[in-house]
Each structure stands twice: as structure tokens, then as C-alpha cells.
């Protein structure tokens, strides 16, 4: 137990240190190799960490051996170990996949490119594991700054605009978070999450605290791309290099949601948060807005990556909806969907990336008849799409089952209808792509497209297989999600 505590911070530190090393490496092979190795090691470590906290334990690691709250601690329970496993796992699978695509899209200066990838991931992991509110801000900025840079690597010139607008929105979000942190600090004199939670009762009832909570939630909602603060997301996902789209789609919004929950539940306390502000109602309204706006806009898109990006907005809505039910079951469903959606979106973006790699464009016209020429890629896309729609036996079905059950258990039957309607909307946009790719003939004169190499396909299929595996064997995902919810809201919510 103690040795795993000693190793735990290295989930963050390995990529954080490997990043600068990567920046110094020349050529194309070495930086990639280092990045892959670093993320694989971090994945193994985080699996060990999750195993150690699975039965409800909490690990705490004090940096510099300064006991918290004086120093900064990393504090891990089932909730963040679960999220860390998703981040490291998805990136360990996607990095090997992305190599040829990166060679294609970012031919030069790959050392600095992979350095940014590692730093961005380290930042996300840092946010996930830390137990200090200011440290959240610092690591949030680390990952955001690296992400802006990575998005700007996209080949299309619109990538620059996307990065700039994301930068402005992201910085507003981070500054809002900072204002919230300032309020917390001024009222309690502490920065450690547990310590603040202990001291807050003296300040309860303060109007400032309500406002602080509001600022933190809004700031993180920007990062989360919750409707109506989602405008930065579609362009950023669309024009980023394929590897980056897949990586951030699978991880970044999830981390934002996690840390928002951490603030709501652990720092402010669920009892306070949901009483001080009409948080449940607000989150529910925004979640429903996200679900419908995201799904509707996804249907309207003619670019595959953009469509997937809007679909992410909708899926974030499901997660927030789970939280807004204010029951343990709803929160579990949110965590479950957080994990499963990471898997399915990674698979979808990865197969879309392969299509872009082989056929150049991602407009619906470029996709016509592509299924016959890239059967393995498009089959993977279709299967991951089945998971997104939420049909059995996929991970997406399991999330939806739990979300629906939670809504039924919370006597919110009308939500069941809304969830199902948006699922059917997902069906529309996925089925449309499948139909165009498989059932339409290739346009006259279009160049023949070759199926991607099996080394590229293998990681995508690993992700697809994971979608099916976790659709049948749900012990890890459901167990992890239930325990994560227990860790956050156990004893507070029914």
C-alpha cells in the first residue's frame, strides 16, 4: 500500500518530465517512442493505483514531504483514479495509432509536438490527481496552453482561429476559476481541498461563497463545453491534427467534468452546493440544452469531424444530466458515461482520422462509397457508432441503461423520453455516415483509396473491442463508476 502511494504521483510526473526531454530529441522516431513509453508506463501505474483504491481507500502524497495543508498533496480516491485510468489508457492506445498521421500532418519539429502532447496530458492528469485548488489552476493552464499550441498545428488555416478563440474562451474560464479560488482562499485561508471543506462551515451563508461556487462552475463549464458555452469546441476539434482531436475529445472535457464535480462535492460539499444555488435545476436545463443543441447541430454538419465534435457536446449533456438528478445512481451513471464516452469517441475520432489520412477530406462527398475501399476502418466506425447510439451489447448501452434507470428511480420519467429522443438523433447522424460510406457508389473519377495499414487499424480495433468488452463485462466500468460516485457523494445522496 505504501509503495503504491510513493509511485502514485509519477502518473503525472512521468509525462511531465518526459515532455521537456522530448523537446530535445531530434528526428521523428525518438520523440514518438518516448511519448508512447511514457504514457504506457503511466497507464500501468494508474491501473495499479486504481486497484489500490478500488475498495474505498484514499492515497495521499505530500510533495516535498510538507504535510498538507502547508504543502501540496496529491489525493487519490476511486473517482480520480478512474478518470486517470481513462486518460492514460486512451492515450497509450492512441499514440501508437497516431504516428503515421502525425508524420503526415506535422512533418517537422516533431520533438516539440510530442513534448506538447506529453505536457498537455500531464496537465490533465495533474488536475485529476491533485488535492490543492491552486494546483488545479496551474495544471489547467499547463494543459490548456499546450492544447492551444497543438490545435494550431492543424494543417488548415482555420486551425489558427480555432486555437485563438479557444485560448480566449479558455483563459476566461481559467480566470473565472481563479476568482472562485480567490473567494475560497479569502474565506478560509487555505488552499487544500480537504482543509477548505473542513473550514467552510464557518463561512456558510456568506453570499461571497455562493458567488465563488458560481464562478467555479461557470469557469469549468466553459472548459466542459456545456451549452451555451460550447462554441469553441467544434472548430477546435475539427481543425486540430487527427491525433489531437482524438486525444482531447476522449480526455479534456472529461477532466473538466471531474474537477467540477470535485469542487461541488468535496470542496463545497454537495449539501451546500445544491442548496446555495439552484444548481440541480441549472445543470439539468443546460444538460438538456446540450443534448438537443449538440445532437441537432451534429445532424446538420457535413464534415465528419465537426459532426463528431457536436456529438461530444450532446454527450457531455448526458453526463451533466446524470449529475443533476442528485442521486447516487445518477452520479454513477455520469461517471460511467464519462468513461465509456471516452472510449467511444476515441474510437470514432480515430477511425475518422484514418479516413482523413487515406482519402484527404472528411466532407460527406469525400466519404461516398469509401466503405468498400476501407472496409475495416468503416466497420470500426460503424461499430463505435452503435456504441454511441447506445445499442447493446456495447459500452454505450450500459451507460444509457444506467442513466435511464437513474432517471426512472428519481421519478423523472420525462427525462427518459428526452434521453431516448436524443439517442435516436444520434442514430440519425451515425446511420447517415454509414449509409453514405457503404451504400453509395464512389463518385466518378474519385481516386481509389487504400485501406489503412493494419498497424494503424489495430489500435482502433482495440478501442472498438473495448467498447464491446465493457458492454458485456461491466465489472470494471460499473464498479469503478459506482465507487467513484460513492467516493464523492457517499452518505450525502441517497
Amino acid at each position: 500500500m505504501s509503495s503504491i502511494t510513493e509511485l502514485m504521483p509519477f502518473v503525472v510526473l512521468i509525462p511531465l518530465i518526459a515532455g521537456p526531454v522530448c523537446a530535445l530529441l531530434p528526428g521523428r522516431g525518438l520523440p514518438w517512442l518516448l511519448a508512447t513509453l511514457a504514457m504506457t508506463t503511466a497507464f500501468i501505474l494508474s491501473a495499479m493505483v486504481l486497484a489500490a483504491v478500488f475498495d474505498g481507500a484514499t492515497l495521499s502524497y505530500a510533495f516535498g514531504n510538507w504535510a498538507p495543508p502547508v504543502g501540496i498533496e496529491y489525493r487519490v480516491d476511486a473517482a480520480n483514479a478512474f478518470v486517470a485510468l481513462l486518460i492514460t489508457g486512451v492515450s497509450a492506445i492512441l499514440l501508437p495509432w497516431g504516428k503515421p498521421l502525425v508524420d503526415d500532418e506535422v512533418p517537422e519539429r516533431q520533438g516539440s509536438f510530442y513534448a506538447l502532447v506529453l505536457i498537455a496530458l500531464a496537465g490533465l492528469l495533474g488536475i485529476t490527481l491533485t488535492g490543492d485548488v491552486f494546483n488545479v489552476f496551474v495544471f489547467l493552464e499547463i494543459s490548456s496552453l499546450a492544447t492551444y499550441g497543438l490545435i494550431a498545428h492543424g494543417r488548415d488555416r482555420r486551425a489558427l482561429i480555432a486555437a485563438f478563440r479557444y485560448l480566449i474562451m479558455g483563459t476566461v474560464g481559467a480566470t473565472f476559476l481563479l476568482i472562485g479560488i480567490a473567494v475560497l482562499y479569502i474565506l478560509t485561508g487555505s488552499l487544500n481541498m480537504v482543509d477548505i471543506a473542513e473550514r467552510l462551515p464557518t463561512a456558510e451563508g456568506a453570499r461571497a461563497l455562493q458567488v465563488g461556487l458560481g464562478f467555479i462552475v461557470v469557469g469549468l463549464a466553459i472548459k466542459l463545453a456545456l451549452f451555451p458555452l460550447h462554441h469553441w469546441l467544434p472548430n477546435a476539434y475539427t481543425y486540430a491534427p487527427s491525433l489531437i482531436s482524438a486525444l482531447i475529445a476522449a480526455t479534456a472535457t472529461k477532466v473538466a467534468l471531474y474537477v467540477m464535480l470535485r469542487f461541488i462535492f468535496d470542496v463545497f460539499g454537495a449539501a451546500y452546493s445544491f442548496a446555495a444555488l439552484p444548481l440541480a435545476a441549472a445543470l439539468m436545463a443546460l444538460a438538456i440544452g446540450s443534448m438537443f443543441a449538440g445532437s441537432w447541430l451534429a445532424i446538420m454538419q457535413s464534415n465528419l469531424k465537426r459532426m463528431l465534435a457536436y456529438s461530444s457536446v450532446a454527450q457531455v449533456g448526458y453526463m451533466v444530466l446524470g449529475v443533476s438528478l442528485t442521486t447516487l445512481a445518477g452520479l454513477s451513471a455520469a461517471f460511467l458515461h464519462l468513461f465509456n464516452h471516452g472510449l467511444m469517441k476515441a474510437a470514432l475520432f480515430a477511425s475518422a482520422g484514418l479516413v482523413a489520412y487515406r482519402c484527404g477530406g472528411l466532407g460527406m462527398n469525400d466519404l461516398r462509397g469509401i466503405g468498400r475501399q476501407m472496409p475495416w476502418t468503416l466497420t470500426a466506425f460503424a461499430l463505435a457508432g452503435v456504441s454511441l447510439v447506445g445499442l447493446p451489447p456495447t459500452a454505450g448501452f450500459i451507460s444509457k441503461w444506467y442513466l435511464l434507470s437513474a432517471a426512472v428511480a428519481a421519478d423523472q420519467l420525462w427525462l427518459v423520453g428526452l434521453i431516448l429522443i436524443t439517442s435516436l438523433m444520434a442514430l440519425i447522424y451515425i446511420a447517415r455516415v454509414v449509409e453514405i460510406a457503404w451504400m453509395q457508389p464512389r463518385p466518378e473519377g474519385a481516386p481509389a483509396v487504400q485501406e489503412a495499414h493494419w498497424t494503424l487499424l489495430a489500435p482502433v480495433w482495440v478501442l472498438v473491442a473495448a467498447n464491446f468488452w465493457f458492454g458485456i463485462d461491466t465489472r470494471l466500468t460499473v464498479g469503478g463508476a459506482t465507487r467513484a460516485a460513492q467516493a464523492l457523494a457517499g452518505g450525502v445522496w441517497p
Binding site: 434507470s405 426512472v408 457503404w438 451504400m439
Partner: protein, 484 residues
């Protein structure tokens, strides 16, 4: 020889067929071979079950706390599995022959999806609980979509869209919430003799659930959610024959029967407020679809509406909620399966051999395709329900069941519908045998049957309907085992 093996074989087969994509001979060989072990397995399970073994329950994994992915062999499911696996044997050569003769492409995709659909059908037949059934139900919907859209023409795509949309909208929008609701109230989803809902939901909720579930099982094609079935006729005929006359639609009515028998329970169903409502909707579907069928000139469309009507027989049987009627429904599933696949095989053979796909074009056809038309005649008899075919028995039990509950309206509807059946199935036969060909072109008189790969299967199934007339009793006893 377990249910699990029966489900596994087609899925493995699909994988092997895909891998053999680049070696057509090997692939075709695999396609021919695949139904045999499947059939033997189902027979093996049947023998063990009849021989007094238990239900051979197999749990693969605890899927969701309290609900497992479980398979078991129940009498009704065995009948269904036996029907599908038997017809799969004859349908495979027919499909290969038809596709070759028609010059279709993408045979690998076709055969792989065909196999997956069969696997899903086996899963539905052997499902031990509602969620497992739902799983395979959805796999069946998805895996048949590429088959319906197979030709890739605009018409095929739009038909397939309707098909998939209706099936998924009903199953996701109605069936899934109903399942969740039942799971939340009853605490279990296992199929249990006598039902599980009895005292866990209020009568009003139970009544609502009946409606939601019956419509949620869109594959049963109760009006107004029947549109997918005619839409699916854009598929190549082997698909229509095996899937839309047997596997898919029978999966729908099988689900209805199972839900009524093992989720609601017969007594509870009778007590529900909406039982008469749904019964009359089913009766209406039965008559209305027959009337529509009368007016269809396209042969496949006529058969499709006939299927809608015949499915409503089975749903009516289930909703009458008596032992006799339920057994009649189960038997009709079997008999209609054989009869309708024969008719579709014939329709396909006619199309392949002569390019004719309308009833009005069939004048004098018997001179060119006597064997096919003979088989068509026998199949029609079976669907109408006349001896010496198996269809007679199933209709007999259905009417007896209705009679015993003193639902005279339903009885008369059955009789009326039978007359309508004759009205829409006999004209093609009459035209083919009695009328002369439209012009005196000598070629029209030459004997030109469809290729052997198409012809033999349809003769086999036609013979099957006759054999079932004799074998109805064992089937009746098997079904009676499962109905309390």
C-alpha cells in the same frame, strides 16, 4: 449441445466467412457448411430437453447487477430455433443460387450479415430474460440493415432507412424504457412461468406497459408500425424469404408470445384494461393488411402484407391469453414460417427465371415453371390454412382458442380473414395454371425453371408444409410443455 453453442456457431461462421473474403470457393463452401452444425446443435438441444433434461441454463456474465446475460432452452424458443435453423439449411443454397443468377455483388458482406442475423435469431430464441432478448433483438435489427440496403440503389437505401428507423425507434423509444420500468418495479427480468409483473405494478401501469411493449416490439408489425415490412421488400428475395418471412418477423411475434406468457402471465394479461384494446388492434391489423394485400400487384408486396396479416394472427393468439390460443400462436409461427418461405422462394425463382415480379404478369406461367407453381400452390394452401398442410392445424387451434373464450367477433374475423387469404393468394395460382400466356410467343411455352440451387430448396420447403400436417402433434405437445 447447449444453447450457447447454437448462438456461437453463426457468429463464428460470420467471422470465418469475412476472413475468407478473397477466396470465393472456400467462402461459398463455408456458407454451405455453416447451417449443418447449427441445425445439429439445435436438434441436440431439443433431444436433451425432450429427454427430460432441465432448461440448460447458461450464464455468460453478470451484465448489470441482478440481470445476467443468460441463455436457456424453453419449448417455445426451441420451436423457433428449430424453424429458423432448418430453413437456414435450405435458404443458404437458395441465396447463393439467387445471388449468382442475379449478378449481385458483395457476397461476403451478404453472407456474413446473413450469418450474424441467424446468430441473433438463435439468441432471441434462447434468451432467458428480457434484457438478453433485447440484446439479440437489436443485433438482429442492425445486422439485417446492410442486407435490406444491399443493392445500394436510391430505392433500396430509402427502404432500408425506413426499415431501420422504424425498428430502432420502436425498440429504443418504447421497448427499452418498458424493460427498464419492469426491471425497476419487478426487480427481475427473467422469464418466469406465470409472469413476473403480477403484484409489482399497479393495474394502470400494467395496462400501459402492455401497450408500450407490444408496440415496442416493432418486429411484430402491429399497425400502425407495420410499414417497415413492405419497405424491407427492396431487399434481394433470399433476404425477404428467410429474414422477413421467418427470422425477423417471427422474432417479433416470438417476443410478443414470450412477453405475454412469461412477463405478464396469461391470467394477468386477461385482467388488464388494455387487453381488449390491443386484441382489437391486432384483429384490425389482420383484416386491414389482408385487404391491402388484395390490391397489391407486385408479388413481393402482396406477400409482405400477407405476412403483416399473418403476424397479427399470432399476436391475436397471444392476446387472447388462453392456453389453447397461445399454443395455436406458437404453432402458427412454425407453420406460417414454412408456408411463407415457400411462397417467397417461388417469387424469387420466378423473378430470376423470367423477370416477372407482378401478379398480372403471371398468366400462363405454370407452363414454363410447373414445379415452382406447384410449390407456390402448396405454400398458399398452408398460409390459408387448408389441409393437407400444417397451416390447417395452427389455424384450427387459434380459432378454437378464440371460441373457448367466447370471443365470437375474433372468431368471425379469423374466418373472414381466411376468405381474404384465398382472395389474394389464389389469383396468382389461377392465372398461372388456367390462363394462357399473354402472347403466342413460342418461347413462353418452353420449360424454363430457375437454377437447381433455387428450385430444390423451394420444393423441399413445400414438402415440409405437407410433412408438418402429420407432425403437428409432437410440436403441439412440445409447446404444451412450456405453457402452464
Amino acid at each position: 449441445m447447449t444453447p450457447f453453442l447454437a448462438v456461437l456457431i453463426p457468429f463464428l461462421g460470420a467471422a470465418v466467412i469475412s476472413l475468407a473474403a478473397n477466396r470465393p470457393r472456400l467462402r461459398d463452401g463455408l456458407c454451405f457448411a455453416l447451417p449443418v452444425p447449427l441445425f445439429l446443435t439445435v436438434v441436440g438441444v431439443l433431444v436433451r430437453r425432450v429427454g427430460g433434461d432441465d432448461a440448460m441454463e447458461q450464464t455468460l456474465v453478470e451484465w448489470i447487477p441482478g440481470v445476467s446475460l443468460t441463455l436457456s432452452a424453453q419449448p417455445l424458443g426451441l420451436i423457433f430455433a428449430l424453424l429458423a435453423s432448418t430453413l437456414y439449411i435450405v435458404a443458404t443454397p437458395y441465396a447463393i443460387g439467387y445471388l449468382r443468377a442475379g449478378g449481385y455483388h458483395h457476397l461476403t458482406r451478404f453472407m456474413a450479415c446473413y450469418a450474424i442475423a441467424l446468430g441473433a435469431t438463435m439468441g432471441i430464441a434462447f434468451a432467458e430474460n428480457l434484457l438478453t432478448l433485447y440484446l439479440f433483438y437489436e443485433i438482429l435489427s442492425i445486422s439485417t440493415y446492410p442486407l435490406v440496403a444491399h443493392t445500394g440503389t436510391e430505392k433500396a437505401r430509402s427502404g432500408a432507412r425506413t426499415y431501420l428507423a422504424l425498428l430502432l425507434v420502436t425498440s429504443i423509444g418504447l421497448m427499452l424504457p418498458a424493460i427498464i420500468w419492469i426491471g425497476a418495479s419487478a426487480g427481475t427480468l427473467s422469464f418466469t412461468a406465470g409472469g413476473i409483473l403480477d403484484d409489482s405494478v399497479s393495474p394502470g401501469a400494467g395496462a400501459l406497459l402492455l401497450v408500450v411493449l407490444l408496440y415496442g416490439i416493432g418486429k411484430a408489425a402491429i399497425m400502425p408500425f407495420h410499414r417497415w415490412l413492405p419497405a424491407a421488400m427492396v431487399a434481394p428475395t433470399p433476404v425477404s424469404a428467410l429474414l422477413h418471412a421467418v427470422a425477423v418477423v417471427k422474432a417479433g411475434v416470438f417476443s410478443v408470445l414470450t412477453v405475454v406468457l412469461y412477463i405478464f402471465g396469461l391470467e394477468y394479461t386477461q385482467s388488464l384494461l388494455t387487453q381488449p384494446l390491443m386484441l382489437y388492434i391486432a384483429v384490425f391489423t389482420m383484416l386491414a393488411a389482408s385487404l391491402v394485400a388484395l390490391r397489391q400487384d407486385n408479388l413481393k408486396a402482396r406477400l409482405a402484407y400477407s405476412t403483416v396479416s399473418q403476424l397479427a394472427y399470432i399476436v391475436t393468439g397471444a392476446l387472447l391469453a388462453t392456453e389453447l390460443a397461445a399454443i395455436g400462436g406458437g404453432l402458427h409461427m412454425l407453420m406460417h414460417g414454412f408456408g411463407k418461405i415457400t411462397l417467397f422462394f417461388c417469387a424469387g425463382a420466378i423473378y430470376v427465371a423470367s423477370g416477372i415480379n407482378t401478379v398480372s404478369g403471371m398468366d400462363g406461367l405454370a407452363r414454363r415453371m410447373p414445379l415452382t407453381m406447384l410449390a407456390f400452390f402448396i405454400g398458399a394452401l398452408c398460409v390459408i390454412g387448408l389441409p393437407p398442410t400444417g397451416g390447417f392445424w395452427s389455424k384450427w387451434y387459434l380459432i378454437s382458442g378464440a371460441w373457448s373464450t367466447e370471443q365470437y367477433l375474433v372468431v368471425s374475423a379469423f374466418v373472414l380473414s381466411t376468405l381474404l387469404n384465398i382472395g389474394y393468394l389464389m389469383p396468382p395460382v389461377m392465372r398461372a395454371f388456367l390462363r394462357p400466356p399473354p402472347d403466342d410467343e413460342p418461347a413462353r411455352y418452353r420449360l424454363s425453371e430457375a437454377p437447381a440451387l433455387c428450385l430444390v430448396p423451394l420444393l423441399v420447403t413445400a414438402a415440409g408444409t405437407l410433412v408438418l400436417f402429420i407432425l403437428a402433434d409432437p410440436a403441439y405437445r412440445l409447446l404444451a410443455m412450456g405453457i402452464p
